[in-house]
Amino acid sequence: MARYLLKRLPSTLVVLLAASFLIFVMIRLVPGDPVTALAGPDATEEARAAIRADLGLDRPVLTQYVVWLGQVLTLDLGRSYRLGGQVSDLLATGAANTLVLTITALLLATAIALVASTVGVIADKKWLNAILSAINTVAVAVPTFVTGLVMVLLFAVLLPILPAGGTPPAGYLARIDITVQYLLLPAVCLALPASAALTRFLTESLRTQLRQPYVMTARALGIPRRRIVLTQALRNALPSALTVLGIQFGTLLGGAVLVEAIFSWPGLGRLIEQGISARDYPVVQVLLLLSVAVFVLTQLVTDVLHAALDPRVRLAGSTPGGK
């Protein structure tokens, strides 16, 4: 496993480095000058120069990039231009809220997928499978902004039982009822597509497991189908499901941008939206880099975990015939 990690790590780092440079250059090229935005249109040329020097914007782009990279690596992210305060503080608050939302969604998706796939496989009824498959296709197909909107329409506008979104009061996690009120709609909205992908995958691998000889042996020994599915088949199907779960975590963080916009959830997605409209370079840069880093690293971690659980993956690159 360590060797596999060592093999994968360099290319991951190169990708991250290239992506960070791309982000930095792209944000530099954004039309609109942050100095004008900060100093106002009437500022004197000296005042503008002072601001420019203060922000380090007078140095060559490459120098700025290296300085920025050093700051990112030492977690010294500097001040936000427009949104106020330290970038790291903004980031910490946003990240905490986004993590709460994403993890809730991930747990919800896993629970739905486990129930739907095991029930479908154990019951093994044609009509049930048809219904589950239809629900699944719809859940994959309907975009998050559509489900989000429909849920707001149903549960906040037409039948006002839940808030349409917004910032929950500080320390909301201590009060279960408030947490549920604010978190339920966005979390379900975020969880639905992920749960559909996971259900489809788990069902497929459970079915494959059930065709294995050991299942036939177990059946011959008189062990009921339900027990075989829940104990042996599920355990064998889980490692590869973990990979799918990991990829879903990456996409969930991307989807969080939309869900946070719909429900005004005060997370990283909302921050990136505000940062872009305020031309707040330091905030947007770090957020873009962060989302790329999380996406790439989750892929790495899931691949490594997969390799740890399945020796064939680990050895694939080192066999003599392998290409």
Partner: protein
């Protein structure tokens, strides 16, 4: 050329698995079951979009005096918006934006990606370089790529098109490269090369027929993703600029006036779902007929 030398064109086609005709199967995939449902759903949306000038009772940006945030009625099928425009007229015209994105941007990205994948994977150096560039692009979740690019390009319809081309290019590049490699290692291709088949012949005769199926399936998947990206970008205010309408921007407007006119967004929402679901069903049907 002397008679003893077998020229590639004379190889017995019955031994070549690529000559196995899959077309009847594909046709069946789209005329029954979910493939048919998908085709009908997409067909309805396409007709709505193409016939927009005939169907729309008003011009999409026309402000109708006295018709502020009306509910659905016989004169305004989907009601009117906050600046007195007919939502149905805006919707059928907005569909055209999504059709442009689906049937122009995605195929453009697919063709460019396939060409890049095809050409660069022939030589080791260009192959490695291209794959690393693809790695970097694919490191951006599509919505994050959309946000980054639209910060740089500014919001607008062409930004949406560029984002979709940029997001799909590496997907197709990868796909073509993978099938190219798989096909090139097959015994019948080695055999063809042994008897003197050149790269172009292998490409035309073996690689293309074998890559076509996965490419069609990916095309359908990517088209449904494109509808999602357009909707998401316009929803976040990064898509078409007002007063132009797209399905995503109409949904965005619908959210703003949700408490006054709750049914405003229902029409555009249904069309988005029909389009995404339809394309996804087509891709599933194609994938299934391939496995069968």
């Amino acid at each position: 050329m002397s008679a003893e030398i077998i020229i590639p064109g004379e190889l017995d086609d019955s031994l070549d698995p690529t000559q196995h005709d899959v077309r009847p199967q594909r046709r069946r995939a789209l005329t029954q079951g979910r493939g048919l449902v998908g085709l009908v759903l997409v067909g309805i949306v396409v007709v709505l979009g193409f016939a927009a000038p005939l169907l729309a009772p008003y011009s999409p940006n026309e402000q109708i005096p006295g018709a502020n945030l009306l509910g659905p009625s016989s004169t305004h099928w989907l009601g009117t918006d906050e600046v007195n425009r007919d939502v149905f007229s805006r919707m059928v015209h907005g569909i055209r934006v999504d059709l442009l994105v689906v049937f122009l941007a995605v195929p453009l990205g697919a063709i460019l990606g396939s060409l890049v994948g095809l050409v660069t994977s022939w030589w080791r150096i260009t192959d490695v370089l291209t794959q690393r560039v693809f790695d970097v692009i694919l490191a951006f979740p599509s919505l994050i790529l959309a946000i980054a690019l639209s910060a740089f390009l500014g919001p607008g319809l062409w930004t949406v098109v560029i984002v979709i081309v940029a997001a799909e290019l590496p997907v197709f590049g990868r796909l073509v490269r993978t099938s190219l490699r798989t096909v090139r290692e097959m015994p019948f291709v080695e055999a063809a090369e042994v008897v003197g088949a050149g790269p172009l012949w292998v490409l035309r005769r073996h690689v293309l027929p074998n890559s076509l199926e996965p490419l069609t399936i990916q095309l359908a998947v990517s088209m449904s993703v494109a509808v999602f990206i357009e909707g998401a970008m316009s929803f976040l205010g990064l898509g078409v600029r007002p007063p132009a309408a797209s399905l995503g921007s109409l949904i965005r407007d619908g959210v703003r006036t949700m408490y006054d006119a709750p049914y405003f967004a229902v029409g555009p929402l249904l069309v988005v779902v029909a389009l995404v679901l339809g394309l996804l069903l087509i891709s599933q049907a194609l994938a299934e007929s391939r496995r069968a």
